[in-house]
């Protein structure tokens, strides 16, 4: 187990280097002077660009610059020029809100998606399954930002039962968890709907496959009731692999979070990313890219570990 863990962590190193390298190359290859994009315009006319380029080491060979950038990322010296604070600090400030929202969305999506998928699988191509399939396709095609606006239009503007913005950061002193529930309803729904199609598709095909397995037929022929076979034998084996999906839907969640947090004014890292892109706050965007990529790598590894723990048939190799 320990050896496996260490090897997985070591395997992450080349991927991590690759990610930072690509990020670095993007900045180097991008048209425009990096000095111009790394500093706010009002500072630019007051400083000697050539001197600055020298000071920033932009005249050094690219490999030297690359190593320095990585160093600055780890020491937290990459500063947002918008807020004059280390970019990583901004990210960690906003992380709790995003984590809360995404966790809620995953839970809601699983609570709706799993039962529906399993009922679909029990009678493939029945009317229920057809409705579910159309819902999956609808969910896949639904623009999240538009759906969010429709919800606001109906529930905030017309019915006036849910607030469209006004959520506070989790660590704010005025934060009351119960008070915040209404603020979270619509964002969670929008984000969950973005996840539902993949969860439903995957669990449905898993369940159909499990139902055709020999051990299910054996269970039936032993004279067990349909209920027992389904709940004791089929369900656990159909649901377990869904765990592996968590790693896959993570990037999806972040994309959704960027949109949902922007529309509902939630102070999370998705909104931070959109804001940074709109004002060209490159240090923040760089740090966000690297940070979220590492999070995705770690979550993939954790889901693998969790899966091997839950399903002893899978050997660590």
């Amino acid at each position: 187990m320990q050896r496996y863990l260490i090897r997985r962590l070591l395997q992450m190193i080349p991927v991590f280097i690759g990610i930072t390298f690509i990020t670095f190359m993007m900045i180097s290859l991008a048209p425009g002077d990096p000095v111009v994009s790394l500093y706010p315009p009002e500072v630019l006319d007051r400083i000697d660009l050539e001197l600055l380029r020298d000071q920033l080491g932009l005249n050094d060979p690219l490999p030297v610059q690359y190593v320095r950038m990585i160093g600055r990322f780890f020491t937290g010296e990459l500063e947002s020029f918008q807020e004059r604070r280390p970019a990583m600090e901004l990210i960690f400030d906003r992380l709790p809100s995003t984590l809360l929202l995404t966790t809620l969305a995953v839970i809601v999506a699983l609570l709706i998606g799993l039962p529906v998928a399993i009922f679909s699988a029990l009678k493939p191509y029945s009317w229920f399954d057809n409705v579910a399939t159309v819902s999956v396709l609808t969910g896949l095609s639904l623009p999240q930002f538009w759906f969010a606006l429709l919800l606001i239009l109906i529930f905030s503007e017309q019915l006036r039962i849910l607030p469209s913005s006004g959520i506070r950061p989790i660590d704010a002193q005025t934060y009351e968890p119960v008070e915040m529930i209404p603020y979270l309803v619509m964002p969670t729904i929008v984000l969950a709907i973005g996840l539902l199609p993949s969860i439903m598709r995957y669990s449905r095909s898993n369940m159909i496959e499990v139902l055709s397995q020999d051990y299910v037929r054996t269970a039936y022929s032993k004279g067990l009731t349909r209920r027992t076979v389904l709940i004791r034998h089929a369900l656990p084996n159909a649901i377990l692999p869904v765990v592996t999906l968590i790693g896959v839907i993570f990037p999806l969640l972040l994309g959704g979070a960027a949109i949902v947090e922007t529309i509902f004014a939630i102070p999370g890292i998705g909104r931070l990313a959109v804001r940074a892109a709109q004002v060209r706050d490159l240090p923040v965007m760089l740090s966000l890219n690297i940070f979220t990529a590492v999070m995705i790598l770690l979550s993939t590894m954790l889901t693998d570990l969790l899966y091997t723990y839950l399903d002893p048939r899978i050997r660590l190799s």
Binding site: P14, V15, G18, I19, I22, T23, M26, I27, A30, P31, G32, S37, Y125, T133, V134, L137, T138, L140, S141, L142, P143, Q144, F145, W146, L149, L150, I152, L153, E157, P251, L254, G255, A258, I259, T262, I263, A273, V274, A276, A277, Q278, R280, L282, M285, L286, L288, N289, T292, A293, I296, L297, T300
Partner: protein
């Protein structure tokens, strides 16, 4: 009368035998109601994009301040926006922006993804290792954040946006094609082609590629739907297609602040985006069922 009937069925069953695959494929597709609905929708959008100037009652960019924020009426089918532009006309013209972006970005993504998957699966070894780690990296990137970054760095013109959307979405195709190639490489007919002295290039293009086509075509169709949605989201956030060029995403964004006063400014362009993406998804899903007889009615 009855005497001739057997002869007739005899002829048609002969035709069936001559090209069974094609007949059953299109039959399976046509029997799938969802797929047909999708195909009709897709046709409408394609015609709308081609004949936009003939269909649209107004010009997409002409402003008419007197008629600003007019609700839907017989003159302005879907109302007007803040600058008095006809939303129906702008939404039709936006088809000319979003659909080509989706299709061309898909072609870029497909070219890169299929090449990488093919080379990786066919040659294996070191090359496979390097290419698959590259694919891992792309899949580990939070693609939406990556797009926010690259569109900021490389500009937001339609051409750049198309390339960026294509170059950031080939990961899944590469993996799927690779696994297909790995399975095909073991087959006897590849062995046969090899022993007849066919070059690697010839084997890949003539023997392996045609056998992976079904999966590639399905992925391509579904990918267009996804890319159109991503472009919409980027444009909505102000980092995609820039106004005054109409894109469904930036049209919805313009209505965002006006939601209470003029719901139609956001609602109708979003409907176009939804239906366009839906048409590709329905067709892609229908194609998947039609290609694979194990699934579908």
């Amino acid at each position: 009368m009855t005497m001739f009937t057997p002869q007739k069925t005899g002829v048609s069953s002969l035709q069936d035998q001559q090209m069974p695959a094609r007949i059953t494929f299109s039959q399976r597709f046509i029997r799938n109601k969802r797929a047909v609905v999708g195909a009709v929708l897709l046709l409408i959008f394609t015609l709308g994009a081609i004949f936009a100037p003939q269909i649209a009652p107004f010009d997409a960019e002409t402003q008419n301040i007197v008629d600003r924020l007019k609700p839907p009426s017989s003159e302005y089918l879907m109302g007007t926006d803040q600058l008095g532009r006809d939303i129906f006309s702008r939404a039709i013209y936006a088809t000319r922006i979003s659909m080509p972006i989706g299709v061309f970005a898909m072609l870029v993504s497909l070219t890169v993804g299929v090449s990488i998957g093919m080379l990786s699966g066919y040659f294996g070894g070191m090359l496979d290792n390097v290419l698959m780690r590259l694919t891992d990296m792309l899949l580990a990137f939070p693609v939406f954040f990556l797009l926010l970054t690259v569109t900021t760095l490389f500009g937001r013109s339609i051409e750049v946006l198309t390339l960026l959307l294509g170059f950031t979405s080939w990961g899944v195709v590469a993996r799927v094609v690779r696994s297909q190639v790995l399975a095909l490489r073991q087959k006897d007919f590849i062995e046969a082609a090899n022993s007849l002295g066919a070059s690697h290039m010839r084997i890949m293009l003539q023997h392996i590629l045609p056998n992976t086509l079904p999966i590639i075509i399905v992925d391509a169709t579904l990918r267009v739907a996804l890319i159109i949605l991503i472009e919409g989201s980027l444009s909505f956030l102000g980092v995609g297609i820039q106004p005054p060029t109409p894109s469904w995403g930036n049209m919805v964004a313009e209505g965002n602040a006006l939601l209470r006063r003029a719901w139609w400014v956001s609602v109708f362009p979003g409907t176009f985006l939804f239906l366009c993406s839906m048409s590709f998804n329905l067709v892609g899903d229908g194609l998947r069922d039609a290609f694979d007889p194990r699934f579908g009615p």
